[in-house]
Symmetry: C3
Subunit: 215 residues, 3 copies
Protein backbone atom coordinates (compact mmCIF):
# COMPACT_ATOMS: atom_id res chain seq x y z
CA UNK A 1 0.00 0.00 0.00
CA UNK A 2 1.43 3.35 -0.97
CA UNK A 3 1.62 6.53 1.07
CA UNK A 4 -1.44 8.24 -0.45
CA UNK A 5 -3.72 5.23 -0.02
CA UNK A 6 -2.66 4.97 3.60
CA UNK A 7 -3.41 8.64 4.15
CA UNK A 8 -6.88 8.25 2.64
CA UNK A 9 -7.48 5.23 4.87
CA UNK A 10 -6.59 7.25 7.98
CA UNK A 11 -8.79 10.14 6.81
CA UNK A 12 -11.68 7.70 6.48
CA UNK A 13 -11.00 6.02 9.79
CA UNK A 14 -10.86 9.36 11.59
CA UNK A 15 -14.00 10.65 9.88
CA UNK A 16 -16.12 7.63 10.75
CA UNK A 17 -14.79 7.40 14.31
CA UNK A 18 -15.37 11.08 15.02
CA UNK A 19 -18.79 10.94 13.36
CA UNK A 20 -19.80 8.18 15.80
CA UNK A 21 -18.34 9.99 18.82
CA UNK A 22 -19.92 13.30 17.78
CA UNK A 23 -23.35 11.83 17.05
CA UNK A 24 -23.33 10.13 20.43
CA UNK A 25 -23.05 13.54 22.12
CA UNK A 26 -26.20 14.58 20.26
CA UNK A 27 -28.05 11.36 21.18
CA UNK A 28 -27.14 11.76 24.83
CA UNK A 29 -28.52 15.31 24.70
CA UNK A 30 -31.80 13.98 23.23
CA UNK A 31 -31.28 15.97 20.04
CA UNK A 32 -33.42 15.13 17.03
CA UNK A 33 -32.11 13.35 13.94
CA UNK A 34 -30.79 16.52 12.33
CA UNK A 35 -28.95 17.66 15.47
CA UNK A 36 -27.28 14.25 15.73
CA UNK A 37 -26.24 14.36 12.07
CA UNK A 38 -24.92 17.92 12.33
CA UNK A 39 -22.90 17.18 15.49
CA UNK A 40 -21.43 14.15 13.73
CA UNK A 41 -20.51 16.30 10.72
CA UNK A 42 -18.84 19.12 12.66
CA UNK A 43 -16.85 16.64 14.77
CA UNK A 44 -15.74 14.63 11.73
CA UNK A 45 -15.06 17.52 9.35
CA UNK A 46 -14.38 20.52 11.63
CA UNK A 47 -10.74 19.78 12.41
CA UNK A 48 -9.85 19.21 8.77
CA UNK A 49 -11.69 22.37 7.78
CA UNK A 50 -9.70 24.53 10.23
CA UNK A 51 -6.51 22.83 9.03
CA UNK A 52 -7.31 23.66 5.40
CA UNK A 53 -8.19 27.29 6.17
CA UNK A 54 -4.93 27.67 8.09
CA UNK A 55 -2.84 26.05 5.33
CA UNK A 56 -4.57 27.89 2.48
CA UNK A 57 -5.92 24.60 1.12
CA UNK A 58 -8.95 26.39 -0.38
CA UNK A 59 -11.73 25.41 -0.63
CA UNK A 60 -11.32 22.97 2.27
CA UNK A 61 -11.25 19.31 1.31
CA UNK A 62 -14.72 18.68 2.76
CA UNK A 63 -16.20 21.10 0.21
CA UNK A 64 -14.36 19.60 -2.75
CA UNK A 65 -14.95 15.95 -2.04
CA UNK A 66 -18.35 14.81 -0.83
CA UNK A 67 -16.98 11.39 0.21
CA UNK A 68 -16.08 12.36 3.76
CA UNK A 69 -19.35 14.17 4.45
CA UNK A 70 -21.29 11.19 3.11
CA UNK A 71 -19.38 8.69 5.26
CA UNK A 72 -19.97 10.92 8.29
CA UNK A 73 -23.67 11.18 7.44
CA UNK A 74 -24.05 7.41 7.07
CA UNK A 75 -22.21 6.77 10.36
CA UNK A 76 -24.54 9.16 12.20
CA UNK A 77 -27.63 7.61 10.62
CA UNK A 78 -26.52 4.09 11.59
CA UNK A 79 -25.88 5.10 15.19
CA UNK A 80 -29.18 6.98 15.37
CA UNK A 81 -31.04 3.99 13.88
CA UNK A 82 -29.49 1.60 16.42
CA UNK A 83 -30.65 3.74 19.32
CA UNK A 84 -34.01 4.43 17.74
CA UNK A 85 -34.85 0.79 17.04
CA UNK A 86 -33.07 -0.98 19.87
CA UNK A 87 -33.95 1.56 22.51
CA UNK A 88 -35.64 -0.90 24.88
CA UNK A 89 -32.57 -3.11 24.95
CA UNK A 90 -30.34 -0.27 26.10
CA UNK A 91 -30.05 -0.23 29.87
CA UNK A 92 -27.54 1.55 32.05
CA UNK A 93 -25.10 -1.37 31.80
CA UNK A 94 -25.06 -1.57 27.99
CA UNK A 95 -25.00 2.24 27.96
CA UNK A 96 -21.78 2.21 29.97
CA UNK A 97 -20.27 -0.17 27.44
CA UNK A 98 -21.38 2.05 24.56
CA UNK A 99 -19.82 5.08 26.24
CA UNK A 100 -16.55 3.18 26.52
CA UNK A 101 -16.65 2.25 22.84
CA UNK A 102 -17.28 5.92 22.02
CA UNK A 103 -14.17 6.94 23.98
CA UNK A 104 -12.26 4.42 21.87
CA UNK A 105 -13.72 5.90 18.67
CA UNK A 106 -12.77 9.36 19.86
CA UNK A 107 -9.20 8.24 20.53
CA UNK A 108 -9.00 6.63 17.07
CA UNK A 109 -10.24 9.84 15.45
CA UNK A 110 -7.71 11.87 17.42
CA UNK A 111 -4.85 9.63 16.31
CA UNK A 112 -5.92 9.39 12.67
CA UNK A 113 -6.46 13.14 12.24
CA UNK A 114 -3.17 14.03 13.94
CA UNK A 115 -1.51 11.96 11.20
CA UNK A 116 -3.56 13.27 8.26
CA UNK A 117 -3.21 16.87 9.46
CA UNK A 118 0.57 16.65 9.29
CA UNK A 119 0.41 14.76 5.98
CA UNK A 120 -1.70 17.51 4.39
CA UNK A 121 0.79 20.17 5.47
CA UNK A 122 3.76 18.10 4.24
CA UNK A 123 2.09 17.44 0.89
CA UNK A 124 1.66 21.21 0.46
CA UNK A 125 5.39 21.70 0.97
CA UNK A 126 5.42 23.06 4.52
CA UNK A 127 8.56 22.15 6.43
CA UNK A 128 8.56 24.08 9.72
CA UNK A 129 8.47 21.50 12.52
CA UNK A 130 6.50 23.88 14.70
CA UNK A 131 3.83 24.39 12.03
CA UNK A 132 3.56 20.66 11.33
CA UNK A 133 3.04 19.74 14.98
CA UNK A 134 0.55 22.57 15.53
CA UNK A 135 -1.45 21.66 12.42
CA UNK A 136 -1.52 18.00 13.44
CA UNK A 137 -2.89 18.94 16.85
CA UNK A 138 -5.43 21.44 15.47
CA UNK A 139 -6.72 18.82 13.02
CA UNK A 140 -6.95 16.27 15.82
CA UNK A 141 -8.68 18.33 18.49
CA UNK A 142 -10.47 20.96 16.35
CA UNK A 143 -13.59 18.96 15.49
CA UNK A 144 -14.17 17.94 19.10
CA UNK A 145 -13.81 21.52 20.34
CA UNK A 146 -16.34 22.87 17.80
CA UNK A 147 -18.71 20.01 18.70
CA UNK A 148 -18.50 20.81 22.42
CA UNK A 149 -18.90 24.56 21.96
CA UNK A 150 -21.97 23.99 19.76
CA UNK A 151 -23.44 21.40 22.13
CA UNK A 152 -22.91 23.68 25.12
CA UNK A 153 -20.35 21.39 26.79
CA UNK A 154 -16.96 22.31 28.22
CA UNK A 155 -14.52 21.65 25.34
CA UNK A 156 -12.88 18.23 25.57
CA UNK A 157 -9.37 19.74 25.76
CA UNK A 158 -10.34 21.33 29.09
CA UNK A 159 -12.14 18.28 30.47
CA UNK A 160 -9.55 15.70 29.52
CA UNK A 161 -6.00 16.17 30.67
CA UNK A 162 -4.29 13.86 28.21
CA UNK A 163 -6.13 14.70 25.02
CA UNK A 164 -4.21 17.47 23.29
CA UNK A 165 -1.09 16.05 24.97
CA UNK A 166 -1.57 12.64 23.32
CA UNK A 167 -1.95 14.35 19.94
CA UNK A 168 1.17 16.43 20.65
CA UNK A 169 3.31 13.42 21.55
CA UNK A 170 2.21 11.55 18.44
CA UNK A 171 2.90 14.56 16.25
CA UNK A 172 6.32 14.96 17.85
CA UNK A 173 7.23 11.35 17.08
CA UNK A 174 6.03 11.73 13.49
CA UNK A 175 8.12 14.85 12.90
CA UNK A 176 11.22 13.43 14.57
CA UNK A 177 11.37 10.35 12.38
CA UNK A 178 9.86 11.71 9.15
CA UNK A 179 13.20 12.76 7.65
CA UNK A 180 14.85 9.41 8.43
CA UNK A 181 14.57 6.53 5.94
CA UNK A 182 11.90 4.84 8.02
CA UNK A 183 8.98 3.37 6.04
CA UNK A 184 6.34 6.13 5.91
CA UNK A 185 3.36 3.81 6.25
CA UNK A 186 4.94 2.19 9.27
CA UNK A 187 5.63 5.62 10.78
CA UNK A 188 2.00 6.67 10.26
CA UNK A 189 0.77 3.55 12.04
CA UNK A 190 3.24 4.11 14.89
CA UNK A 191 2.18 7.74 15.29
CA UNK A 192 -1.47 6.76 15.25
CA UNK A 193 -0.83 4.05 17.83
CA UNK A 194 1.11 6.39 20.13
CA UNK A 195 -1.82 8.83 20.24
CA UNK A 196 -4.47 6.14 20.75
CA UNK A 197 -2.51 4.21 23.39
CA UNK A 198 -1.51 7.30 25.42
CA UNK A 199 -5.11 8.50 25.28
CA UNK A 200 -6.51 5.11 26.40
CA UNK A 201 -3.94 4.69 29.17
CA UNK A 202 -4.77 8.16 30.51
CA UNK A 203 -8.46 7.19 30.56
CA UNK A 204 -7.71 3.89 32.29
CA UNK A 205 -5.39 5.40 34.90
CA UNK A 206 -7.45 8.53 35.46
CA UNK A 207 -4.25 10.52 35.22
CA UNK A 208 -4.38 14.12 36.43
CA UNK A 209 -2.39 17.23 35.68
CA UNK A 210 -1.79 19.66 38.56
CA UNK A 211 -4.49 22.22 39.16
CA UNK A 212 -5.01 25.09 41.58
CA UNK A 213 -7.64 24.67 44.25
CA UNK A 214 -10.75 26.84 44.22
CA UNK A 215 -9.85 30.44 44.99
CA UNK B 1 -33.22 43.80 -13.55
CA UNK B 2 -30.01 41.95 -14.28
CA UNK B 3 -28.48 39.06 -12.36
CA UNK B 4 -25.95 41.12 -10.38
CA UNK B 5 -28.48 43.70 -9.22
CA UNK B 6 -30.77 40.91 -8.05
CA UNK B 7 -27.92 39.30 -6.11
CA UNK B 8 -27.12 42.61 -4.41
CA UNK B 9 -30.79 43.02 -3.54
CA UNK B 10 -30.87 39.59 -1.88
CA UNK B 11 -27.62 40.32 -0.03
CA UNK B 12 -29.20 43.49 1.32
CA UNK B 13 -32.47 41.81 2.19
CA UNK B 14 -30.65 39.03 4.06
CA UNK B 15 -28.36 41.44 5.88
CA UNK B 16 -31.15 43.67 7.16
CA UNK B 17 -33.41 40.73 8.10
CA UNK B 18 -30.65 38.90 9.99
CA UNK B 19 -29.55 42.16 11.66
CA UNK B 20 -33.08 42.59 13.04
CA UNK B 21 -33.34 38.94 14.14
CA UNK B 22 -29.86 39.01 15.70
CA UNK B 23 -30.37 42.30 17.53
CA UNK B 24 -33.62 41.00 18.96
CA UNK B 25 -31.72 38.17 20.66
CA UNK B 26 -29.54 40.80 22.33
CA UNK B 27 -32.54 42.91 23.37
CA UNK B 28 -34.29 39.89 24.85
CA UNK B 29 -31.11 39.15 26.84
CA UNK B 30 -31.11 42.74 28.17
CA UNK B 31 -27.77 43.47 26.53
CA UNK B 32 -26.65 47.07 26.24
CA UNK B 33 -26.58 49.00 22.96
CA UNK B 34 -23.18 47.67 21.93
CA UNK B 35 -24.11 44.04 22.61
CA UNK B 36 -27.25 44.46 20.51
CA UNK B 37 -25.29 46.01 17.65
CA UNK B 38 -22.57 43.33 17.77
CA UNK B 39 -25.10 40.46 17.81
CA UNK B 40 -26.81 42.06 14.81
CA UNK B 41 -23.47 42.33 13.00
CA UNK B 42 -22.33 38.74 13.59
CA UNK B 43 -25.73 37.38 12.56
CA UNK B 44 -25.87 39.50 9.42
CA UNK B 45 -22.23 39.18 8.35
CA UNK B 46 -21.03 35.92 9.96
CA UNK B 47 -22.40 33.50 7.38
CA UNK B 48 -20.99 35.47 4.47
CA UNK B 49 -17.64 35.74 6.23
CA UNK B 50 -17.35 31.95 6.69
CA UNK B 51 -18.42 31.49 3.05
CA UNK B 52 -15.69 33.85 1.85
CA UNK B 53 -12.99 32.20 3.99
CA UNK B 54 -14.02 28.80 2.67
CA UNK B 55 -14.07 29.95 -0.97
CA UNK B 56 -10.82 31.92 -0.72
CA UNK B 57 -12.70 35.17 -1.39
CA UNK B 58 -10.12 37.16 0.59
CA UNK B 59 -10.53 39.55 2.33
CA UNK B 60 -14.18 38.63 2.98
CA UNK B 61 -16.73 40.91 1.33
CA UNK B 62 -17.70 42.49 4.66
CA UNK B 63 -14.16 43.88 5.03
CA UNK B 64 -13.98 45.24 1.52
CA UNK B 65 -17.36 46.91 1.35
CA UNK B 66 -18.66 48.83 4.33
CA UNK B 67 -22.20 48.95 2.90
CA UNK B 68 -23.41 45.72 4.49
CA UNK B 69 -21.97 46.50 7.93
CA UNK B 70 -23.55 49.95 7.84
CA UNK B 71 -26.98 48.61 6.88
CA UNK B 72 -26.71 46.04 9.68
CA UNK B 73 -25.69 48.76 12.13
CA UNK B 74 -28.60 51.01 11.15
CA UNK B 75 -31.09 48.13 11.42
CA UNK B 76 -29.86 47.33 14.94
CA UNK B 77 -30.01 50.97 16.00
CA UNK B 78 -33.57 51.33 14.70
CA UNK B 79 -34.75 48.22 16.54
CA UNK B 80 -32.98 49.30 19.72
CA UNK B 81 -34.49 52.79 19.47
CA UNK B 82 -38.00 51.39 19.04
CA UNK B 83 -37.66 49.29 22.18
CA UNK B 84 -35.93 52.06 24.09
CA UNK B 85 -38.51 54.74 23.31
CA UNK B 86 -41.68 52.69 23.05
CA UNK B 87 -40.91 50.40 25.95
CA UNK B 88 -44.09 51.16 27.87
CA UNK B 89 -46.27 50.22 24.92
CA UNK B 90 -44.73 46.77 24.67
CA UNK B 91 -46.79 44.25 26.57
CA UNK B 92 -46.70 40.47 26.38
CA UNK B 93 -49.22 40.51 23.52
CA UNK B 94 -47.32 42.92 21.29
CA UNK B 95 -44.14 41.10 22.29
CA UNK B 96 -45.55 37.86 20.92
CA UNK B 97 -46.32 39.61 17.66
CA UNK B 98 -42.79 41.04 17.52
CA UNK B 99 -41.31 37.59 18.12
CA UNK B 100 -43.36 36.27 15.19
CA UNK B 101 -42.14 39.05 12.93
CA UNK B 102 -38.57 38.21 13.98
CA UNK B 103 -39.06 34.57 12.97
CA UNK B 104 -40.21 35.87 9.59
CA UNK B 105 -37.11 38.08 9.31
CA UNK B 106 -34.95 35.10 10.23
CA UNK B 107 -36.59 32.97 7.53
CA UNK B 108 -36.08 35.76 4.97
CA UNK B 109 -32.40 36.02 5.91
CA UNK B 110 -32.00 32.25 5.64
CA UNK B 111 -33.54 32.20 2.17
CA UNK B 112 -31.68 35.25 0.87
CA UNK B 113 -28.26 34.07 2.09
CA UNK B 114 -28.74 30.54 0.77
CA UNK B 115 -29.14 32.15 -2.65
CA UNK B 116 -26.26 34.65 -2.37
CA UNK B 117 -23.95 31.97 -0.94
CA UNK B 118 -24.38 29.82 -4.03
CA UNK B 119 -24.14 32.88 -6.31
CA UNK B 120 -20.79 33.87 -4.81
CA UNK B 121 -19.38 30.37 -5.36
CA UNK B 122 -20.71 30.26 -8.95
CA UNK B 123 -19.29 33.69 -9.74
CA UNK B 124 -15.88 32.45 -8.58
CA UNK B 125 -16.08 29.56 -11.04
CA UNK B 126 -16.89 26.72 -8.66
CA UNK B 127 -18.99 23.99 -10.27
CA UNK B 128 -19.16 21.04 -7.85
CA UNK B 129 -22.83 20.57 -6.92
CA UNK B 130 -21.84 19.34 -3.49
CA UNK B 131 -19.73 22.43 -2.80
CA UNK B 132 -22.43 24.79 -4.05
CA UNK B 133 -25.14 23.29 -1.83
CA UNK B 134 -22.85 23.17 1.21
CA UNK B 135 -21.72 26.79 0.74
CA UNK B 136 -25.32 27.94 0.34
CA UNK B 137 -26.26 26.24 3.60
CA UNK B 138 -23.19 27.50 5.48
CA UNK B 139 -23.92 31.07 4.34
CA UNK B 140 -27.55 30.69 5.39
CA UNK B 141 -27.12 29.14 8.84
CA UNK B 142 -23.58 30.35 9.74
CA UNK B 143 -24.50 33.77 11.11
CA UNK B 144 -27.26 32.40 13.31
CA UNK B 145 -24.99 29.71 14.74
CA UNK B 146 -22.24 32.22 15.63
CA UNK B 147 -24.89 34.51 17.17
CA UNK B 148 -26.25 31.69 19.34
CA UNK B 149 -22.83 30.46 20.46
CA UNK B 150 -21.82 34.01 21.41
CA UNK B 151 -25.13 34.70 23.18
CA UNK B 152 -24.91 31.43 25.12
CA UNK B 153 -27.96 29.88 23.43
CA UNK B 154 -28.30 26.44 21.88
CA UNK B 155 -27.50 27.00 18.17
CA UNK B 156 -30.63 27.45 16.05
CA UNK B 157 -29.82 24.41 13.89
CA UNK B 158 -30.21 22.21 16.97
CA UNK B 159 -33.33 23.93 18.27
CA UNK B 160 -35.22 24.12 15.00
CA UNK B 161 -35.78 20.95 13.05
CA UNK B 162 -36.52 22.50 9.68
CA UNK B 163 -33.92 25.24 9.53
CA UNK B 164 -30.86 23.76 7.85
CA UNK B 165 -33.24 21.44 5.99
CA UNK B 166 -35.14 24.40 4.47
CA UNK B 167 -31.84 25.91 3.32
CA UNK B 168 -30.78 22.53 1.91
CA UNK B 169 -33.99 22.06 -0.10
CA UNK B 170 -33.77 25.57 -1.53
CA UNK B 171 -30.11 25.06 -2.46
CA UNK B 172 -30.98 21.73 -4.09
CA UNK B 173 -33.66 23.34 -6.25
CA UNK B 174 -31.28 26.14 -7.23
CA UNK B 175 -28.56 23.72 -8.31
CA UNK B 176 -30.95 21.42 -10.17
CA UNK B 177 -32.33 24.15 -12.39
CA UNK B 178 -29.32 26.45 -12.70
CA UNK B 179 -27.94 24.79 -15.82
CA UNK B 180 -31.31 24.85 -17.59
CA UNK B 181 -32.35 27.92 -19.58
CA UNK B 182 -34.65 29.12 -16.83
CA UNK B 183 -34.51 32.87 -16.13
CA UNK B 184 -31.88 33.30 -13.38
CA UNK B 185 -33.72 36.05 -11.53
CA UNK B 186 -36.86 33.96 -11.50
CA UNK B 187 -34.88 30.97 -10.20
CA UNK B 188 -33.40 33.07 -7.40
CA UNK B 189 -36.86 34.21 -6.32
CA UNK B 190 -38.18 30.65 -6.46
CA UNK B 191 -35.24 29.33 -4.37
CA UNK B 192 -35.69 32.11 -1.85
CA UNK B 193 -39.43 31.39 -1.66
CA UNK B 194 -38.89 27.64 -1.19
CA UNK B 195 -36.64 28.26 1.83
CA UNK B 196 -38.92 30.86 3.40
CA UNK B 197 -42.14 28.92 2.84
CA UNK B 198 -40.77 25.58 4.09
CA UNK B 199 -39.36 27.36 7.14
CA UNK B 200 -42.63 29.14 7.90
CA UNK B 201 -44.76 26.02 7.35
CA UNK B 202 -42.50 24.07 9.73
CA UNK B 203 -42.99 26.80 12.35
CA UNK B 204 -46.76 26.82 11.80
CA UNK B 205 -47.15 23.04 11.90
CA UNK B 206 -44.66 22.53 14.69
CA UNK B 207 -43.16 19.72 12.65
CA UNK B 208 -40.77 17.36 14.46
CA UNK B 209 -37.95 15.10 13.37
CA UNK B 210 -37.56 11.79 15.23
CA UNK B 211 -35.50 11.92 18.39
CA UNK B 212 -34.37 9.39 21.00
CA UNK B 213 -35.96 9.60 24.42
CA UNK B 214 -33.84 10.56 27.43
CA UNK B 215 -31.32 7.83 28.18
CA UNK C 1 13.92 52.25 16.74
CA UNK C 2 12.42 51.62 13.33
CA UNK C 3 8.84 50.84 12.40
CA UNK C 4 9.22 47.04 12.15
CA UNK C 5 10.99 46.67 15.50
CA UNK C 6 8.25 48.73 17.14
CA UNK C 7 5.58 46.50 15.58
CA UNK C 8 7.32 43.36 16.87
CA UNK C 9 7.55 44.93 20.31
CA UNK C 10 3.80 45.60 20.35
CA UNK C 11 3.09 42.06 19.10
CA UNK C 12 5.15 40.71 21.99
CA UNK C 13 3.59 43.02 24.54
CA UNK C 14 0.09 42.06 23.42
CA UNK C 15 0.88 38.35 23.36
CA UNK C 16 2.30 38.26 26.87
CA UNK C 17 -0.42 40.50 28.33
CA UNK C 18 -3.24 38.48 26.77
CA UNK C 19 -1.54 35.19 27.78
CA UNK C 20 -1.60 36.35 31.40
CA UNK C 21 -5.20 37.58 31.21
CA UNK C 22 -6.33 34.39 29.44
CA UNK C 23 -4.52 32.02 31.80
CA UNK C 24 -6.07 33.80 34.75
CA UNK C 25 -9.55 32.89 33.47
CA UNK C 26 -8.47 29.25 33.48
CA UNK C 27 -6.98 29.50 36.98
CA UNK C 28 -10.15 31.11 38.32
CA UNK C 29 -12.14 28.24 36.81
CA UNK C 30 -9.86 25.71 38.57
CA UNK C 31 -8.69 24.29 35.26
CA UNK C 32 -5.64 22.06 35.24
CA UNK C 33 -2.25 23.10 33.87
CA UNK C 34 -3.13 22.25 30.28
CA UNK C 35 -6.42 24.12 30.37
CA UNK C 36 -4.66 27.20 31.71
CA UNK C 37 -1.99 27.00 29.00
CA UNK C 38 -4.55 26.49 26.22
CA UNK C 39 -6.72 29.41 27.38
CA UNK C 40 -3.59 31.58 27.45
CA UNK C 41 -2.71 30.47 23.92
CA UNK C 42 -6.14 31.08 22.36
CA UNK C 43 -6.39 34.51 24.01
CA UNK C 44 -2.89 35.52 22.92
CA UNK C 45 -2.92 34.05 19.41
CA UNK C 46 -6.62 33.84 18.49
CA UNK C 47 -7.12 37.44 17.40
CA UNK C 48 -4.03 37.43 15.20
CA UNK C 49 -5.08 34.11 13.69
CA UNK C 50 -8.52 35.43 12.66
CA UNK C 51 -6.83 38.57 11.28
CA UNK C 52 -4.46 36.48 9.15
CA UNK C 53 -7.25 34.25 7.83
CA UNK C 54 -9.28 37.32 6.92
CA UNK C 55 -6.34 39.04 5.20
CA UNK C 56 -5.12 35.93 3.40
CA UNK C 57 -1.88 35.99 5.38
CA UNK C 58 -1.54 32.17 5.09
CA UNK C 59 -0.46 30.24 7.08
CA UNK C 60 -1.23 32.57 9.99
CA UNK C 61 1.81 34.10 11.67
CA UNK C 62 1.41 31.91 14.77
CA UNK C 63 2.01 28.81 12.64
CA UNK C 64 5.06 30.21 10.88
CA UNK C 65 6.86 31.65 13.85
CA UNK C 66 6.95 29.71 17.10
CA UNK C 67 8.17 32.75 19.05
CA UNK C 68 4.73 34.06 19.97
CA UNK C 69 3.37 30.67 21.04
CA UNK C 70 6.45 30.08 23.18
CA UNK C 71 6.19 33.48 24.90
CA UNK C 72 2.52 32.79 25.56
CA UNK C 73 3.35 29.35 26.94
CA UNK C 74 6.03 30.70 29.25
CA UNK C 75 3.72 33.47 30.51
CA UNK C 76 1.01 30.92 31.35
CA UNK C 77 3.50 28.63 33.09
CA UNK C 78 4.86 31.49 35.20
CA UNK C 79 1.37 32.58 36.29
CA UNK C 80 0.38 28.98 37.04
CA UNK C 81 3.56 28.43 39.05
CA UNK C 82 2.97 31.58 41.11
CA UNK C 83 -0.52 30.43 42.06
CA UNK C 84 0.59 26.83 42.58
CA UNK C 85 3.50 27.65 44.88
CA UNK C 86 2.25 30.78 46.61
CA UNK C 87 -1.31 29.59 47.04
CA UNK C 88 -1.41 30.05 50.81
CA UNK C 89 -0.38 33.69 50.53
CA UNK C 90 -3.25 34.51 48.23
CA UNK C 91 -6.20 35.82 50.17
CA UNK C 92 -9.24 37.70 48.95
CA UNK C 93 -7.42 41.03 49.28
CA UNK C 94 -4.37 40.05 47.22
CA UNK C 95 -6.75 38.31 44.81
CA UNK C 96 -8.60 41.56 44.22
CA UNK C 97 -5.28 43.24 43.42
CA UNK C 98 -4.34 40.44 41.04
CA UNK C 99 -7.70 40.77 39.27
CA UNK C 100 -7.05 44.48 38.80
CA UNK C 101 -3.60 43.79 37.35
CA UNK C 102 -5.20 41.29 34.96
CA UNK C 103 -7.65 43.94 33.74
CA UNK C 104 -4.63 46.14 33.07
CA UNK C 105 -2.93 43.32 31.14
CA UNK C 106 -6.13 42.81 29.16
CA UNK C 107 -6.28 46.52 28.28
CA UNK C 108 -2.62 46.45 27.21
CA UNK C 109 -3.27 43.43 24.98
CA UNK C 110 -6.29 45.14 23.46
CA UNK C 111 -4.31 48.28 22.65
CA UNK C 112 -1.23 46.46 21.34
CA UNK C 113 -3.22 44.12 19.06
CA UNK C 114 -5.39 46.92 17.68
CA UNK C 115 -2.14 48.51 16.50
CA UNK C 116 -0.48 45.35 15.13
CA UNK C 117 -3.71 44.27 13.42
CA UNK C 118 -3.79 47.48 11.40
CA UNK C 119 -0.03 47.29 10.76
CA UNK C 120 -0.33 43.80 9.30
CA UNK C 121 -3.08 44.91 6.92
CA UNK C 122 -1.12 48.01 5.88
CA UNK C 123 2.05 45.99 5.30
CA UNK C 124 0.05 43.71 2.98
CA UNK C 125 -1.00 46.72 0.93
CA UNK C 126 -4.60 47.11 2.09
CA UNK C 127 -5.80 50.71 2.03
CA UNK C 128 -9.56 50.74 2.70
CA UNK C 129 -10.10 52.67 5.93
CA UNK C 130 -13.11 50.52 6.77
CA UNK C 131 -11.10 47.31 6.41
CA UNK C 132 -8.19 48.66 8.44
CA UNK C 133 -10.38 49.69 11.37
CA UNK C 134 -12.36 46.44 11.31
CA UNK C 135 -9.19 44.31 11.18
CA UNK C 136 -7.67 46.27 14.05
CA UNK C 137 -10.75 45.65 16.16
CA UNK C 138 -11.02 41.97 15.22
CA UNK C 139 -7.36 41.44 16.15
CA UNK C 140 -7.89 43.24 19.44
CA UNK C 141 -11.09 41.59 20.63
CA UNK C 142 -10.92 38.23 18.76
CA UNK C 143 -8.72 36.35 21.21
CA UNK C 144 -10.81 37.36 24.21
CA UNK C 145 -14.04 36.32 22.51
CA UNK C 146 -12.68 32.86 21.60
CA UNK C 147 -11.37 32.49 25.17
CA UNK C 148 -14.77 33.34 26.66
CA UNK C 149 -16.73 31.08 24.31
CA UNK C 150 -14.38 28.17 25.08
CA UNK C 151 -14.44 28.85 28.83
CA UNK C 152 -18.25 29.06 28.85
CA UNK C 153 -18.32 32.75 29.80
CA UNK C 154 -20.33 35.55 28.20
CA UNK C 155 -17.91 37.07 25.63
CA UNK C 156 -16.10 40.13 26.97
CA UNK C 157 -17.52 42.39 24.24
CA UNK C 158 -21.01 41.78 25.68
CA UNK C 159 -19.97 42.11 29.32
CA UNK C 160 -17.87 45.22 28.97
CA UNK C 161 -19.39 48.30 27.41
CA UNK C 162 -16.20 50.09 26.50
CA UNK C 163 -14.07 47.26 25.17
CA UNK C 164 -14.67 47.07 21.43
CA UNK C 165 -15.38 50.82 21.56
CA UNK C 166 -11.92 51.56 23.00
CA UNK C 167 -10.34 49.49 20.23
CA UNK C 168 -12.50 51.30 17.65
CA UNK C 169 -11.50 54.76 18.85
CA UNK C 170 -7.81 53.85 18.85
CA UNK C 171 -8.08 52.37 15.35
CA UNK C 172 -9.90 55.50 14.17
CA UNK C 173 -7.12 57.74 15.47
CA UNK C 174 -4.46 55.54 13.84
CA UNK C 175 -6.17 55.64 10.45
CA UNK C 176 -6.85 59.37 10.59
CA UNK C 177 -3.24 60.31 11.16
CA UNK C 178 -1.44 57.53 9.30
CA UNK C 179 -1.27 59.39 5.99
CA UNK C 180 0.07 62.56 7.61
CA UNK C 181 3.83 63.00 8.12
CA UNK C 182 3.55 62.16 11.79
CA UNK C 183 6.28 59.86 13.15
CA UNK C 184 4.91 56.32 12.82
CA UNK C 185 6.38 55.03 16.07
CA UNK C 186 4.90 57.98 17.91
CA UNK C 187 1.51 57.35 16.27
CA UNK C 188 1.60 53.69 17.33
CA UNK C 189 2.29 54.64 20.93
CA UNK C 190 -0.49 57.27 20.85
CA UNK C 191 -2.99 54.75 19.42
CA UNK C 192 -2.00 52.17 21.98
CA UNK C 193 -2.35 54.74 24.77
CA UNK C 194 -5.78 55.88 23.57
CA UNK C 195 -7.12 52.31 23.73
CA UNK C 196 -5.59 51.53 27.12
CA UNK C 197 -6.60 54.82 28.74
CA UNK C 198 -10.19 54.77 27.45
CA UNK C 199 -10.49 51.16 28.59
CA UNK C 200 -9.11 51.90 32.07
CA UNK C 201 -11.21 55.04 32.50
CA UNK C 202 -14.35 53.08 31.58
CA UNK C 203 -13.43 50.48 34.23
CA UNK C 204 -12.77 53.18 36.81
CA UNK C 205 -15.94 55.14 36.11
CA UNK C 206 -18.13 52.09 35.64
CA UNK C 207 -19.50 53.72 32.54
CA UNK C 208 -22.69 52.24 31.07
CA UNK C 209 -24.26 52.21 27.66
CA UNK C 210 -28.08 52.37 27.49
CA UNK C 211 -29.88 49.05 27.72
CA UNK C 212 -33.50 47.94 27.62
CA UNK C 213 -35.05 46.71 30.85
CA UNK C 214 -36.08 43.09 31.18
CA UNK C 215 -38.99 42.29 28.89
Amino acid sequence: MNYEAMDILFELLGTISFAFAGSMVGIRKSMDLLGVVVLGLVTALGGGCIRDLVLGNIPPQMFRDSKLAIYSLISSLILFAIFYVKFDFINSRTMKKIEKIMLLFDAIGLGAFTVTGINTAISMGYESKFLLIFVGMVTGVGGGVIRDVMAGNIPVIFREEIYAVASFLGALAYIMFFKTDINKNFLMIITFSIVVIIRLISLKCNFHLPKIKKI
